[in-house]
């Protein structure tokens, strides 16, 4: 029953689009005030999509296996929480969520922009409707979540156990809020372009949307990363996996866009650049959906492989890009009222420099992700591009990037000089000395590390100084940049000081190195609602004779029959101790991985701080002077 309602509701939702478009066009030409019918129909459309979404959730809760999506992804023994989160844990449901967020955002947009130009609101709505209709058709045609199966099966196939996890239950919705938020930026950029209204006022208003999606995207990536850390048991937080990369790309574009919009808001320059970035961000988000959903990517994330879906998204994506470029070249006129030139040493230059670096990072990630697909298509040679590629190309360029990030905010707009900037050099010296001391003491002889740590420390000191000297004037930027320095420092130290032991052990055996002794005491078995758990008990003794017990777990799920390992992580302020255990088939051995990872918690905390900066910026009334 809920499926039926959901299914019809989807069609009604699509029907609303016709009315919205009809009234919008009428309103756009004729009257001077905004027609409230448009708003009503938008809200009605939102309501239909919500009903449809709730219908799907209900089908999952009552385990209605006559619904194909539920049958494929649910099971009666699954805990309620994962029945609900299973709604968006699959292709069909997640697209419905996309649609929900699309309609939700445009409604919020309409409610929030009452005092802006009428035609700007209508045009944004119209462009957004193109995307919405595209998604409606995509869902109904290729991935309808309400397909009917007859006769009704007794039991579903179950949700992949690896997805049965609290972090992953909320990760997709949050990530989608970020992705889809960029659709508003896209539509409004097109609208502003069509009306030649790419101005300070526009920048001021769109900044809030950029920040909002940026924050959600950051959080979404953070959650996914934390999940990968403890659930996949690889003991890292970023693997340069294609699916991770496609979420990083819009993030980079969005970060760049945000910095440019600041310049646009202050100085009315970089207008075309802002427009291009707005289009790029949304294109990358759509590309992300396309690459992930089409099954083209060879990745640890695997989703349904259906060429029809891929082709549809690809065509849709290209028509959107084409539309955007068409408007950009034919409607948009750059007004050269007065040329606001700026001196080479100025805040504008600093932001531009950082822009270039961001674009460079973006292209590296893009090529690393796309190249294997490209090569497969043209020469059917199968390759993969590993982390060394990214590290080699990105790490060295972080050094000037960090320096610019420290110095930039301390420069003035238009023109700046180096008087009273003596401290900039002083701190550079201090950071260099400090990091050489660290490197020498710890006997790591990498030149690149010294320089990299120095520049990260430099940013750290400068931002800390800014906190004190500027008395929280420019708090948002300051917090984010500070967070970034903390992030780089934690990642570096984490990389340098991590240690790992991998071995195979039987119960009762001991493994010794000169620093650690691992004793495999026993295993215990336990039965849970939808899995059997095998918990190992390991006692770890370090060189100072401090003993610690770790209990990694193996879960054998009933439906589908899959083994997952749950890492046991002992977290403290300075380091994580991480242990996983895997079964070796037909042998008495267990495969053990024990890792000592310093500063893990600081990596998470620093990302949190970075996005907190964005949050401050949203709620602040006046921006920096």
């Amino acid at each position: 029953m809920p499926s039926l309602i959901g299914s019809y509701s989807l069609f009604f939702g699509l029907g609303c689009s016709i009315f919205i478009i009809f009234f919008s066009i009428k309103n756009f030409k004729n009257s001077s005030s905004f027609d409230s019918k448009i708003l009503s129909f938008s809200l009605l459309q939102l309501l239909f999509v919500i009903v449809s979404f709730i219908g799907l959730i209900l089908s999952f809760i009552i385990s209605d296996f006559s619904n194909e999506t539920v049958f494929n992804h649910s099971h009666t023994t699954k805990p309620l929480f994962y029945k609900i989160s299973g709604t968006w844990g699959n292709h069909e449901g997640s697209l419905l969520l996309w649609l929900l967020v699309l309609t939700l955002f445009i409604s919020i947009f309409l409610l929030n922009t009452k005092n802006l130009l009428k035609n700007y609101r209508i045009l944004t709505l119209l462009y957004q409707q193109i995307i919405i209709i595209g998604f409606f058709i995509f869902i109904i045609k290729t991935s309808n979540p309400f397909n009917y199966i007859y006769p009704e099966p007794d039991e579903g196939l179950g949700l992949n156990p690896i997805l049965q996890d609290p972090a992953l239950a909320i990760h997709p919705p949050i990530l989608y809020l970020g992705y889809v938020g960029s659709s508003i930026i896209f539509s409004s950029a097109l609208a502003a372009m069509s009306l030649n209204w790419v101005s300070k006022e526009w920048a001021k208003h769109i900044k809030k949307w950029i920040l909002t999606s940026w924050i959600f995207l950051t959080f979404g990536i953070l959650l996914g990363s934390i999940w990968a850390y403890y659930e996949l048991g690889w003991g890292g937080f970023w693997f340069w996996d294609p699916v991770e990369n496609v979420s990083l790309m819009p993030w980079l574009a969005l970060t760049t866009l945000f910095h440019c919009v600041l310049v646009l808001e202050k100085k009315s320059i970089l207008t075309s650049w802002v427009i291009i970035l707005s289009i790029t961000t949304f294109t990358l988000s759509m590309c992300g959906t396309f690459l992930v959903r089409s099954g083209i990517l060879n990745s640890v994330h695997t989703f349904a492989n259906d060429p029809e879906r891929g082709v549809f998204i690809l065509i849709f994506l290209f028509s959107l890009i084409f539309l955007a470029l068409f408007i950009f070249f034919f409607f948009y006129k750059v007004e050269n009222k007065k040329i606001n030139s700026f001196f080479w040493l100025s805040k504008e230059t600093a932001i531009l420099v950082n822009n270039w670096f961001m674009m460079y990072f973006l292209s590296v990630v893009l090529i690393g992700t796309i190249y294997p697909i490209f090569l497969d298509v043209i020469s059917s040679q199968q390759i993969s591009v590993g982390p060394p590629f990214y590290h080699k190309l990105i790490v060295p360029f972080l050094i000037p990037f960090l320096l610019a990030m420290a110095i930039g905010p301390n420069l003035n707009w238009i023109k700046s000089d180096l008087k009273n900037k003596f401290y900039l050099f002083l701190f550079l010296l201090i950071s260099l000395v400090l990091s050489s001391l660290i490197i020498i003491n710890l006997k790591i002889d990498f030149l690149i590390n010294t320089v990299l740590i120095s520049s990260a420390f430099y940013l750290f000191f400068i931002t800390t100084r800014d906190f004190i000297v500027h008395r929280f004037q420019n708090l948002a930027q300051n917090v984010s940049h500070f967070g970034f320095s903390l992030f780089i420092l934690s990642v570096l130290f984490n990389n340098i000081f991590s240690s790992e032991i991998i071995t195979n052990l039987k119960v009762g055996e001991t493994f010794k190195t000169k620093d650690v002794t691992i004793f495999f005491e026993k295993i215990t078995k336990k039965k849970e609602q939808n899995f059997d758990a095998i918990t190992g008990k390991f006692s770890i003794t370090n060189s100072k004779n401090i003993e610690q017990i770790l209990n990694p777990e193996l879960r054998i799920y009933n439906q589908p029959n899959i083994v997952t390992s749950e890492a046991d992580i002992k977290i403290n302020l300075l380091s994580d101790k991480f242990m996983t255990m895997n079964l070796v088939q037909n042998q008495n051995y267990f495969n053990i991985r024990y890792q000592h990872k310093p500063f893990m918690i600081w990596i998470w905390a620093s990302i949190f701080i970075i996005s907190f900066g964005g949050l401050i910026s949203i709620f602040k009334r006046r921006h920096e002077t």
């Binding site: 048991g233 390759i383 070796v584």
Partner: protein, 139 residues
Amino acid sequence: MYGRKVKLRFFFILLILLTFVLTTFLILKSLEENVVFFKSPSEIKTLAEIQNKKIRVGGMVKKDSISVVSKEMKFIITDFKSEISVTYSGVIPNLFEEGKGVVAEGYLKDKNFFFATKILAKHDENYMPPEVKAAMEEK
């Protein structure tokens, strides 16, 4: 002669072009060094020479082929035409099982022996790396 502005603009464009070329060069160079090729056991048999370069081998884990001696593990990857023995010490993913698909990354000793440095994890039991699928379909 040209004005200052024109000169400036010229330099600016030159700078952009230069960065662009440099970037492309860097990326391509790095790609060349860090790309890992995928081969099936049959393809390895037809190799002309054994290079000391990292590759990936994919196929099925042969039935009753897994054996463990403390730190080291041995098993056989097969594509039902040819097979290759693999020696490995490291993390074993949960879905590593006899009769299931696997991708191992590492170095070839010769055409019959492979030292794996990594075995790739997969998400679910239905999943097969596209590379393996293609290799299996060819047979």
